[in-house]
């Protein structure tokens, strides 16, 4: 059985604002019946102030879909439309004290219903580019479509690349077979065949590598991992190199997060592969914190 938080259970057993809203003037219908989750969100918006006076939902879906719908309506009642648009799917999940990774899409659906309803109120057409694939990485809730798109867009070719760019596979590693299958498929499209991580280019023992070459390689690794971090509103910079200790600063959404340790580990691993020697990555606090820190509220 799913591990639902008390809050999820409570919202499922006693959903708030369920049923049709007679005088709704904004409606959003999203979801997929084939996947078993779909939601109609109804809002009553004050035309003067654009404030949400009332909200209700009807949901075809599992316990967490119903709980996410219920939570969403509670959260947005009383907000202006612009305020409501700032509610992210993570906010919905946080409101419910978290959702299992398999169920994060329920909160995404809530957020999309909100966008659709507001677009409907404003007379806009809301188009969805959402495409959901089978869940591959259960540690970080990353699906096949996301991995495939990232592999294509960035010409990735190894499992380690996928971990660096999407985090998928960076946890328990049980999904590496699934990731290899995606790599095999996408590589075949571009006429290549999947090879297990190519052995690191025969690096001369570190004593023989020139200092300049060594610094270049360290810089290269940092540059390689930055796009993935930036996608998560984070960043990493090289601060100093002191023998086998490499100081970096983690910025933005990465700094201080649970993810920091994991990210560091991954970068350190890459660094060791590139240098062919043991090094230790040590985070130092950034002097000027980047905007948009961990809890963008």
């Amino acid at each position: 059985m799913w591990e639902y938080s008390e809050k999820v259970q409570e919202h499922f057993f006693n959903p708030r604002n369920a049923g049709a809203l007679g005088d709704a003037n904004a409606t959003g219908e999203v979801g997929s019946i084939s996947c078993g989750d779909a939601l109609r969100l109804m809002l009553k918006v004050d035309p003067e102030t654009e404030r949400i006076l009332d909200a209700s939902f009807q949901t075809f879906g599992c316990g967490s879909a119903i709980a996410s719908s219920s939570a969403l309506t509670e959260m947005i009642k009383g907000m202006t439309l612009d305020e409501a648009l700032k509610v992210s799917n993570q906010d919905i999940a946080d409101y419910l004290d978290g959702l299992p990774p398999e169920k994060m899409h329920c909160s995404v659906m809530g957020r999309e219903a909100l966008e659709a309803a507001i677009a409907n109120y404003r007379g806009e057409v809301w188009a969805d580019d959402h495409e959901e694939g089978a869940l591959i990485c259960k540690c970080f809730a990353i699906d096949a479509v996301m991995i495939e798109d990232t592999v294509r867009a960035n010409n990735l070719s190894t499992v380690q690349d996928v971990i660096n760019y999407t985090k998928a596979g960076g946890g328990c590693a049980a999904c590496h077979e699934g990731i290899e299958e995606i790599l095999t498929k996408v590589l075949a499209e571009r006429g290549e065949s999947f090879k297990v991580t190519p052995p690191p280019s025969p690096v001369a023992a570190s004593g023989k590598m020139s200092t300049l070459e060594r610094v270049k390689r360290i810089q290269q690794v940092i540059e390689d991992v930055r796009p993935a971090l930036q996608r998560d509103r984070g960043d990493i910079e090289l601060v100093d190199i002191d023998g086998k200790t490499i100081y970096v600063s983690m910025k933005g959404a990465c700094s201080g997060c649970q993810m920091e340790a994991l990210t560091l580990q991954g970068v350190q691993q890459k660094m060791m592969e590139a240098l062919g020697e043991f090094v230790k990555l040590v985070p130092v606090r950034a002097t000027t914190p980047a905007p948009g820190l961990c809890n963008p509220k």
Binding site: A18, G31, S34, D37, C62, W126
Partner: protein, 402 residues
């Protein structure tokens, strides 16, 4: 209130008398049956008895046709991989679209390795087309693997007839009989079935013990090689406590066979009729006239199964569902999809599977509990109006990216 367990196709409780029989094999009877001393010897005799108890339940001709394995899944994999190994020139497999993942996932992997797998289709009631099957039986086929009873709907396939057809065409035949063994009588010695899989935990024996029945003379290659256990056909020191337990459970199943097919069946029918009489827009899936006596699978339209299970669970009632959510996948049950059940019903299927431990009082409590739960969830459904489904549901609610 005592909990009510109606999920016996998922797993069963180990019969208390079975537990009693197995316990000494953890303590005083801990010997290795292969050992020369008397610690081992007694265990060896106990395994022999268990083998005969299994033999009696399935009507095998010889007790040496019983190979103990670690589970139903191992038996399934062993059977199929063995057939491929002994006939390397045959690159095709015939199975059905509604098998358990123990077969389906293996077959999908084999497809990647270059084998061709034919998945027999089913009709709206989950029945096979034997003409389609007959056409596929060629000398390219290494093995046919068809489940005897479906775990979700209880629907039975005519495997005895299908085994005869395969035999006549010179093709090996395996059946995943995990759900049927212990529920309906069988007599393998008068059939043409070459291999058959059993799982202990579906018939009140422990989890982690299974059987592969292997007809004498059927060509075979072991999955696990090593010691000479199971006459070299399945290496690894025997799980003696569980084997003894499975033997005892088989003996009990044989004793309760009539009860299963009268009393349990009557309870199942009472449950089904009781629910359908009160709940509109609900129907039985599979083939109601040809199924296991303990299984009933009902589709409740316009709602999703996980919600039903959570609300049932709150009242202490355990069942399961074919919805996508409960499986953690993106699609509802492949069995419901294969039968062409629409999504709005497939996600709302609930399987009630009974055992000889269920009582009439329990069934009546479930009959009383279900209708309000369905009504409560339908109130939340965009497909449901004041007193029934909205007119033209597909038009009335058409979410984006449906």
């Amino acid at each position: 209130m005592n909990p009510i367990y109606l999920d016996n196709n998922a797993t069963t409780r180990v019969d208390p008398s079975v537990v009693e029989v197995m316990l000494p094999f953890f303590t005083e009877q801990f010997g290795n049956p292969s050992s020369m001393h008397s610690f081992g010897n007694k265990v060896g005799l106990a395994l022999k008895k268990a083998r005969q108890q299994v033999q009696a339940l399935i009507g095998a001709e010889h007790d040496s046709e019983i190979i103990f394995t670690s589970c139903g899944t191992e038996s399934d994999s062993t059977a199929i991989l063995s057939a491929l190994k002994v006939q390397p020139e045959r690159k095709e497999i015939i199975t059905t679209a509604v098998e358990h993942p123990a077969i389906l996932t293996l077959c999908q992997t084999l497809e990647k390795d270059g084998y061709t797998v034919h998945y027999l289709k089913v009709d709206g009631k989950g029945r096979l087309d034997l003409d389609e099957y007959a056409k596929l039986l060629t000398d390219k086929v290494a093995i046919v693997s068809v489940m005897w009873a479906n775990n979700e709907t209880g629907t039975l396939f005519p495997v005895e007839k299908m085994a005869e057809m395969a035999n006549a065409a010179g093709v090996m035949f395996h059946t995943d009989a995990v759900q049927i063994v212990g529920k309906l009588p069988m007599d393998l010695k008068s059939s043409k079935i070459d291999m058959l899989s059993i799982s202990g935990h579906k018939l009140h024996a422990p989890k982690g013990i299974g059987v592969l029945y292997l007809r004498r003379g059927a060509r075979f290659r072991p999955l696990l090689r090593g010691g000479h256990q199971e006459r070299g056909r399945r290496a690894g020191t025997e799980n003696s406590a569980s084997i003894v337990a499975l033997g005892a459970a088989c003996e009990q199943a044989l004793e309760h066979m009539a009860y299963e097919n009268t009393e349990v069946r009557a309870l199942r029918d009472r449950l089904e009729k009781g629910i359908l009489a009160q709940v509109p827009n609900a129907f039985v899936t599979g083939d109601p006239d040809n199924r296991l006596p303990n299984t009933c699978n009902i589709a409740f339209e316009y709602i999703e199964g996980e919600g039903i299970l959570l609300l049932l669970n709150k009242q202490g009632i355990a069942a399961s569902s074919g919805s996508a959510c409960t499986s953690g996948s993106l699609e509802p049950s492949h069995v419901m999809r294969a039968m062409g059940i629409p999504y709005t019903a497939a996600h709302g299927t609930v399987r009630f599977s009974l055992s000889r431990y269920n009582t009439e009082e329990e069934i009546d409590r479930v009959i009383a509990a279900v209708p309000p739960i369905i009504a409560q969830l339908r109130k939340l459904s965009p497909y449901w109006g004041e007193n029934g489904p909205v007119t033209d549901p597909a038009q009335a609610f058409a979410p984006v990216y449906a």
